[in-house]
């Protein structure tokens, strides 16, 4: 098990290195650089050259990459080209905001999605099943910005005003304010993510319920409740965990639209900002952080497999 974990960690390091190379190369394929974007339509050739020299953008690409990775390895994440502030502090603040939102959304998804999926499996083919599957599918089919704006217009409109339209409140300004700001974006994400979990749980539970050992359990007289909770779910949930791990990665960096609609300062908006401003040091760290979340979440999911199903051994 330990050897397996070490091997996986080594491959994770390799993946992150590859991500950094690909992102770096991709940014430089795009036209323009941080200097042209800082100066905009006020640029003169001299000013562009001066800024390029100052930010080291006039050096060969390989040298730029080497000096960047050299400092990252020694723990120096560098300074954002557009914001002129330490990348580490910017990314840390956004990562924390994204983590709060991701945890809020995932918690609701798990609490609502798994019971709904199980219920659908138990009532397969009946109206309840049909209703659950249809409703979640409608949720995932509507684009996020439509769902987001609809919630905004209903629940944050001046006449209702239950929740703030947008933004983020620090925990220091009170747990109430902090939580209220999370509700609408988290609700939008829940609607988007629910379908995957419900479908996965439903088919997982349905498969397991048809297995011989469930029949055996029924024959020995176990209650449906005990069969579902103790025998079926434990086996049925394995693929669901993988889906949750992938969702976590998505929530930490891929929810640009929801962050824009609710003016929520998370990682997604930061990545777009970094790309638009050709802010290479900032973009590199964002990409690495999001990639780390993805691979680590998957790694954790694999370890959870072994814990949930003793038959699985990594050796």
């Amino acid at each position: 098990m330990t050897r397996y974990a070490l091997r996986r960690l080594a491959s994770i390091a390799l993946i992150l290195l590859l991500v950094s190379v690909i992102v770096f190369a991709a940014v430089h394929v795009l036209p323009g650089n941080a200097a042209t974007l800082i100066l905009g339509e006020y640029a003169t050739p001299e000013a562009v050259r001066t800024l390029e020299r100052e930010m080291g953008l006039d050096r060969p690409l390989l040298a730029q990459y080497a000096s960047w990775i050299g400092s990252v390895v020694t723990g120096d994440w560098g300074v954002s080209l557009a914001m002129k502030q330490p990348v580490a502090a910017i990314v840390a603040a956004r990562l924390r905001n994204s983590a709060f939102l991701a945890l809020a959304a995932l918690t609701v998804v798990v609490i609502v999605g798994i019971p709904l999926g199980t219920l659908a499996a138990l009532r397969r083919g009946r109206p309840v099943d049909l209703a659950i599957v249809t409703a979640t599918y409608v949720g995932v089919s509507i684009p996020e910005f439509v769902t987001g704006l609809a919630l905004l217009l209903v629940l944050a409109s001046p006449s209702v005003g239950w929740f703030p339209t947008s933004g983020y409140a620090e925990l220091t300004s009170g747990v109430g304010a902090w939580a209220r700001h999370l509700v609408l974006p988290a609700m939008t994400l829940t609607i988007v993510l629910l379908a995957h979990i419900v479908r996965q749980t439903r088919s997982g539970v349905a498969d397991v319920l048809a297995a011989p050992y469930i029949r055996a359990a029924r024959l020995k007289g176990a209650s449906t409740r005990r069969i579902v909770l103790r025998h079926a779910l434990r086996n049925a949930l394995l693929p669901t965990i993988t889906v949750l791990a992938l969702d976590l990665g998505y929530l930490m960096g891929g929810i640009v639209v929801v962050e824009e609609v609710f003016a929520y300062p998370g990682m997604g908006r930061l990545i777009i900002y970094a790309v638009q401003n050709r802010d290479v040091p900032l973009l590199q760290m964002c990409a690495l952080v999001v990639a780390s979340v993805y691979v680590l979440a998957n790694f954790a999911a694999d370890l959870a497999y072994a814990w949930l199903d003793p038959r699985i051994r990594y050796s």
């Binding site: 795009l30 036209p31 323009g32 650089n33 042209t36 974007l37 800082i38 100066l39 905009g40 339509e41 006020y42 640029a43 003169t44 001299e46 000013a47 562009v48 001066t50 800024l51 100052e54 300074v79 954002s80 557009a82 914001m83 002129k84 502030q85 910017i90 603040a93 910005f145 704006l149 905004l152 217009l153 944050a156 409109s157 001046p158 005003g161 703030p164 339209t165 947008s166 933004g167 983020y168 824009e260 609609v261 609710f262 003016a263 300062p265 908006r269 930061l270 900002y273 638009q276 401003n277 050709r278």
Partner: protein, 521 residues
């Protein structure tokens, strides 16, 4: 005569009592009523840096306006009035400008403002190593020096009559010299004298400033603080405004503007500005090197219809030059109506009776660029212009199209003076000559240079009128209209005056009425 103690007290009390109503009640009452509260302002983009020497976005200009002062500021007619400088004078035919500074102005970190700070600010701004985007737009400054503690002298390479208005530009905010020592750090802190000092700055999201008690305009500002928030989505911004999470929307899009006015208790503010989108007609190569073809294109455009279709009618019709009524040097020309027959005739005369195909580029931000390109394509088709419109991301546009001699849509915000925008658009050295027109029109360019010698406003206006006519008839830009500056605010925001350049947001004397949500912040 002996005066009893009582009589004495009564007498002095009376004097005091008469003095108090004469001096105090207005300000005391007004202060207790006007003071306090947090004003929440919204924008839709751009809040990366607070460094006044380097910033280029309207949101950043707004924020530094609250924390810093310039030597001068512009009044509603765009004329310079005192800010840090209390007076100024020209000598040697507008070649030497001397500014006398206000006494007793303090920076937020406590030190008193001196002429050395002004010199340090302009020296940094002009240093090529700084690479300030605005370096070319503060005039032909040769030398800036301290005369005494409160007097600064600028010596120009050539006459520059509009200098007192030009020093009001956002990039010429006066920064304390110790702040200029670290230009990188200046992106996230401030060394200003302004009505507010920096409290919190989260790049790309919001900036919050708080009242500076030692501000030189005594009793001002009235607000305890201001927050500027970025809303990437205008629909969310509008909802936040309706829910009174935002008190003042800066830069409302024209299609949402009517929504603002519909809210009971809310007001839409509109003022003619100098911001415009225009199409470059590269005049150094076919087909636009023929001035008849340029004129034909200008005659295709039904400007009124275009303004209605693109900007909900919010604006002022243009006649193919960049000086709107928002500028002090404005002089009106008759409006230009579409004339398709005349345009066809001009095309025929130019040997293009069978039409011509040209590539027309537009960046996707702001959206008005793309709209102008698309509407122009339709309007110009009947005359034989066949435009192949390519819309692209702003970053790609900057790197591959902008200022490379192609036909594309430019977008420029209001400048402090007509000189600034004219030089920017037409002059090959002081600006970029994006229409590639200057080499063939040296006389017109000379008119722009001569204007810099004219100090007397009325004479300057007449002088510019000649250039504007040439620009209309032969110039390398099709400029259909200027957009109005549009803001939305709740009625409880008092004494706010929208400037023709909306990023020129002065909040010194703005106050919140008692029914404002954040009056007791």
């Amino acid at each position: 005569m002996r005066m009893s103690r009582r009589a004495f007290l009564k007498a002095t009390g009376l004097v005091g009592a008469t003095a108090i109503p004469a001096l105090e009640p207005v300000s005391v009452l007004a202060q207790s009523e006007k003071h306090g509260g947090l004003l929440r302002v919204s924008v839709t983009f751009g809040l990366s840096t607070l460094n006044p020497i380097m910033h280029i976005s309207g949101a950043e200009w707004m924020a530094t306006k609250w924390m810093y002062n310039n030597l001068t500021r512009l009044n509603a007619k765009r004329e310079p009035v005192p800010d840090l400088a209390e007076s100024w004078s020209a000598a040697d035919g507008a070649r030497v400008w001397t500014f006398k500074l206000r006494q007793g102005v303090r920076f937020h970190h406590g030190r008193e403002l001196t002429a050395d700070d002004v010199v340090a600010t302009f020296t940094t701004l002009l240093d090529p190593k700084t690479a300030s985007p605005y370096r070319g737009e503060v005039g032909p400054i040769d030398r800036v020096e301290t005369v005494d503690k409160s007097t600064v002298r600028f010596t120009m390479r050539a006459p520059f009559s509009v200098f007192p208005a030009v020093v009001a530009v956002p990039n010429a905010r006066i920064v304390a010299r110790e702040g200029l020592a670290d230009m990188k750090a200046l992106a996230a802190r401030e060394f200003g004298t302004g009505p507010f000092k920096l409290k919190e700055f989260v790049p790309g999201d919001h900036v919050t400033v708080e009242r500076f008690a030692d501000y030189f305009r005594k009793a001002e500002p009235y607000l305890d603080g201001v927050t500027l928030r970025v809303f990437p989505d205008p629909a969310t911004e509008l909802t936040a405004f309706k829910s009174k999470e935002i008190d003042l929307i800066s830069g409302v899009t024209p299609d949402l503007f009517s929504e603002v006015g519909k809210q009971p208790g809310a007001e839409g503010l509109a003022v003619a500005g100098g911001t415009f989108a225009a199409v470059t007609l590269p005049s150094d190569k076919p087909p636009f090197n023929d001035s008849r073809v340029r004129e034909a294109l200008k005659l295709c455009v039904d400007r009124k219809l275009m303004l209605a279709a693109i900007n909900s009618g919010q604006g002022e019709l243009g006649v193919d030059h960049p000086v709107s009524s928002a500028y002090a040097a404005y002089s009106p020309l008759p409006p230009r109506a579409a004339n398709i027959d005349r345009a066809r005739q001009l095309m025929k005369d130019a040997g293009l009776a069978n039409g011509v195909s040209v590539k027309l580029y537009a960046a996707n931000s702001p959206p008005i660029r793309e709209r102008i390109a698309v509407v122009l394509k339709e309007m110009a088709q009947p005359v034989g212009f066949n435009f192949d419109v390519e819309v692209m991301a702003y970053d790609r546009y900057l790197a591959q199209v902008w200022n490379k001699g192609a036909m594309y849509v430019v977008y420029y915000a209001t400048r402090p003076t007509a000189d600034a925008i004219l030089m920017k658009l037409y002059h090959p050295k002081e600006g970029l000559d994006e229409g590639r027109w200057a080499p063939a029109h040296p006389n017109a360019i000379r008119l722009l240079e001569q204007a810099r010698e004219i100090v007397e406003p009325e004479r300057l206006r007449r002088h510019y009128a000649e250039f504007l006519k040439i620009s209309r008839d032969e110039g390398p830009y099709m400029l259909p209209f200027f957009t109005n500056e549009l803001n939305g605010k709740w009625a409880y925001v008092r004494d706010y005056r929208l400037s023709p350049s909306s990023s020129d947001m002065v909040l010194d004397d703005v106050w919140l009425a008692a029914d404002a949500p954040k009056k007791k912040a």
